[in-house]
Every structure is written in C-alpha cells, then in structure tokens.
C-alpha cells in the first residue's frame, strides 16, 4: 500500500466513523463512585475459590470416612 492509498484509506475511515465527541459526551453522565463502592463491597464479601475447594474436600472426606468425624471432635 503506497502513501496515496494509505491517505485514501484514512479519509474513508474518517468519513465512515466520526470522532466519538460528535456522537456522545466524552465525560461520564453520572458520578461513578457509587458503582465503584458497590464493586469494592461485592468483592470483599466474595469467598475465594480455594476456600470453597477446601470446604468441599472436607465434606467429601467426612462422607467417605464418617468414622473420622469423631476424631475431629476429639481434637477440637
């Protein structure tokens, strides 16, 4: 693609897609901090996947070997 063709493509692209400022505001239309706070709170309540995996492993262990439950209580 030579320089002339490149310029032609640039012009075609600009003709097809105007800058976003022509179509929409380039600043948010609302304060986004409340959404940020919700995101932070949701994440802090989330339980990490490895905690769920550990819980599942313990439950599976006790299901397969119910006799070990008393052993657990003995150590507690």
């Amino acid at each position: 693609m030579n320089e002339h063709e490149q310029k032609r493509m640039e012009q075609l692209l600009k003709q097809s897609l105007p800058p976003i400022s022509v179509l929409a505001a380039t600043e948010p239309q609302r304060d986004l901090w409340p959404a940020m706070v919700r995101r932070l709170e949701a994440r802090s309540l989330a339980v990490p996947w490895f905690d769920w995996a550990l819980l599942a492993a313990v439950v599976a262990w006790f299901a397969l070997f119910p006799g070990t439950i008393s052993l657990l209580f003995f150590h507690l």
Binding site: M1, E5, Q6, R8, M9, E10, Q11, L12, L13, K14, Q15, S16, L17, P18, P19, I20, V22, L23, A24, A25, T26, E27, P28, Q29, R30, D31, L32, W33, A35, M36, R39, L40, R43
Partner: protein
C-alpha cells in the same frame, strides 16, 4: 488525558491501601479515564463499566504503584488494557455501526453503503490494531500518548495503524469495494 500532579501524600497513602486516598484519586481522574476509554470502545455504557473496572484494577494493584511515575499515565495504561480486553471479547456483530457518520458530516462522494461496510469491516479488525487506528486516525490523539497507553514505541503504533489500514483495504476489496 491530562497528566495531573497529585499531592505526594495522597499518592503515598493510596499506595498503602488507604480508601480515602483512592476515592480522591477516583474523583479526580474518573472523567479522564472515561474519556480515554470511550474513545477506544465507542460505547458510553460500556465505557462507564470499564471505568469502574479500570479503577478496580488500580485498587488491586495499589501496592505496585510507583508515585514517581505519576498516577495519570499509569491509570491510562490500565484503562487501555481494560478497553482492549473488552474489544477482544465483544462479538463483531456488535460493531454494526450505530456511530456511522451522519450524512451531514459525510463526503457525498462516498455512498452510505460503502461507509457502512467500512465501519463494519473496521469493527472486525484485531483489537490491538483497531484501538491504535481509532485513537490515531479517528480521534487524532498524539502518537506519543497512544504509545504510552499501549506500552509500545511510537514507531510500533505507526506500524499497527498501517497494518489496520492494509487489512481494512483487503477486506473491502474482498467485498468488491475498491477504496
């Protein structure tokens, strides 16, 4: 996006995970981050979500922040990555342009069909090429700013823009349009 100086104590507190410092930085930079993202993704609703996503990533990475580098460029880099991740996962069909140039803005010598097909083909380009071309050609942002945001040299930005145009021309020719 303007690079705004922060009081060093706010940046230091943010680096140590202080939420009030994070809020101060969020309020000061949310408009700039949003403005950068919306220029890449061209969707105001998605840009709002991605602004929150960007600041979430910033919050998670607070311990890695280097106050000497400035908050603005760091935030813009993270915002660009979030926008690129979004473009990679978005279906190409979603790029059927709502944002086609209005007839008043368009060159009457270029038919609406050609403009529509150009916009559609552009939407199907790889995210990295599309972002570089959007910022450089449509939004006319300085190459230096684009390079900083993408984490590459200005020469590499020019290569991406060239490759985007070449791919676009190839796709248009495949559709029987001679640009």
């Amino acid at each position: 996006m303007q690079v705004m100086e922060q009081p060093s104590d706010v940046l230091r507190q943010f680096r140590h995970g202080d939420l009030d410092a994070f809020e101060a930085l969020f309020r000061q930079h949310q408009s700039e981050v949003y403005g950068w993202i919306v220029r890449i993704v061209r969707d105001p609703s998605a840009a709002e979500d991605l602004t929150v996503e960007t600041f979430w990533r910033i919050h998670r990475a607070h311990a890695r922040f280097d106050p000497g580098q400035g908050f603005g460029p760091w935030a813009r880099r993270i915002a660009t990555n979030a926008a690129l991740d979004y473009l990679k996962t978005r279906r190409p069909e979603a790029d059927v342009p709502d944002d086609l140039a209005s007839p008043q803005l368009a060159d009457p010598g270029v038919s609406e069909e050609v403009r529509r097909k150009t916009a559609y083909a552009f939407g199907r380009l790889p995210a990295k090429l599309k972002a570089a071309a959007t910022l450089a050609l449509i939004e006319e942002r300085p190459y230096k700013d684009i390079a900083g945001a993408l984490g590459i040299s200005t020469g590499a930005v020019k290569v991406r823009v060239f490759r985007a145009l070449r791919l676009l021309r190839k796709e248009l020719r495949r559709q029987g349009i001679e640009p």
